[in-house]
Symmetry: none
Subunit: 250 residues, 2 copies
Amino acid sequence: MKWKVKEVAELVGVSVRALHHYDEIGLLTPTETMESGYRLYSEENLETLQQILFFKELGFPLKEIKTMLNNPSYDRKEALVLQRKMLVEKRGRIDQMIETIDKTIKHMEGEIHMTNEERFKGIQFTSNPYEEEARKRWGNESVDEANKKLQSLTKDEQHELSEKWDTIFKKLASLRKQSPESEEAQAAIKEWYDLLNNNFGQYTLEAFRGLGQMYIQDERFTKNIDQYGEGLAAFMSEAMTVFANKQNKS
Amino acid sequence: MKWKVKEVAELVGVSVRALHHYDEIGLLTPTETMESGYRLYSEENLETLQQILFFKELGFPLKEIKTMLNNPSYDRKEALVLQRKMLVEKRGRIDQMIETIDKTIKHMEGEIHMTNEERFKGIQFTSNPYEEEARKRWGNESVDEANKKLQSLTKDEQHELSEKWDTIFKKLASLRKQSPESEEAQAAIKEWYDLLNNNFGQYTLEAFRGLGQMYIQDERFTKNIDQYGEGLAAFMSEAMTVFANKQNKS
DNA sequence: TATAAAGGATGACGTAACGTGAGAGTCAAT
DNA sequence: ATTGACTCTCACGTTACGTCATCCTTTATA
């Protein structure tokens, strides 16, 4: 079964405009559209929409929701479990606020004393631990950080950096036919590791390995990297894992 | 005891910028400021802030919160009770969402069937009855017949009206240093009187004089009016009395 | 089958509630 | 006297839509 915008809007309780917006930003593009241009939402679209709305309720910005849903390792059931945890957490906060209100009323009646911190219990922005987990699992914090740094550089610095970058990738591309464990490959990977560390702050070995994983898991990365040569992403990914393991032992 | 912005910010868990913003829009102006311009928040300010944040948590827009808090019949304890009710309601919604998640997971495992409505239970925008109550008691709706009329106007008419309103207040503010009995002041007050009569039905001179009294007796009115200039409320109040007396004689 | 009402599409501008510097002054401790 | 942490006021940027305006389909009804 397929639904038109208004039907979806009424079914799930969002505005038509919102659906348009989600389409605009590529968060939820209906799988089908009639020749007239009318949007037709599928069952699957509804499932995605449910996910979107849960995340939204939990305070995630749309952009973040998008990257999470697009993440190749995104898993709906796992997400639901996490969302559940976050909701329970949120309910806890509400309970605290209710308690705070009760106390405040009593305080007004002179029955009890109240510290100023107590006055705001539950309202405060206590970052939810599960939120972090979601971001780590499916978000791209590290990549975002890196991009921010990149943009903070001057034009010249950016240029310089991209040249170094280019050199390394070309070198790696030329090596990709041999083993990722070869000395040359590992040396090139070390260069890559150092470059990242010099420019984007601390890349722990864990993060480095994770980055390598992303190169093959996330097709946006894969595509970009493979422009230097088919299979480069896979090659780098493996070499990075090897590198991380080696370093770990030493 | 007094607090500087950052202290308040950390105590209650909002950003300094937010506090600046609340000051900018006249939602929460610190009672005191040092000669250097530093904001100093009082105990009372904190109480107001608590109210603001509760309402915000419940989804009220700042503008609405402002009019509610400024409403002369606003009662803090009553508000707390209502807020409590709304929070309980909200908690109920969260419980529903949790249930929805549980069902969805079961559904994914093929254990149960799920209608499309069930899929979005709790997420939907179900307007909270207590919200309406709050709006009725302290929102714009309460200010009486006058505002009903106001709301019956079209957007354009409303806009036009508020511009006229604004013009008159600004004019009055510019005159407030001279005598309330001066010809100019009285002319401006007449404009004000006419505007009220044209838009909100009959304002007897009695009522007009009474309104003037409210401007100084009720600090919430005073605050609002004095945003156009310190002492404007007092000035208008006097000018309105003078005006009413004069009209009465003729 | 014509015709209107209802719904849909695409701009494009508006709004709310801050975030995010920039540039400059202030306070408190050393 | 200096320095580092705060503070102030612009002022522009951002997010997630709301709100027309204008024009085009679809559908219900006569």
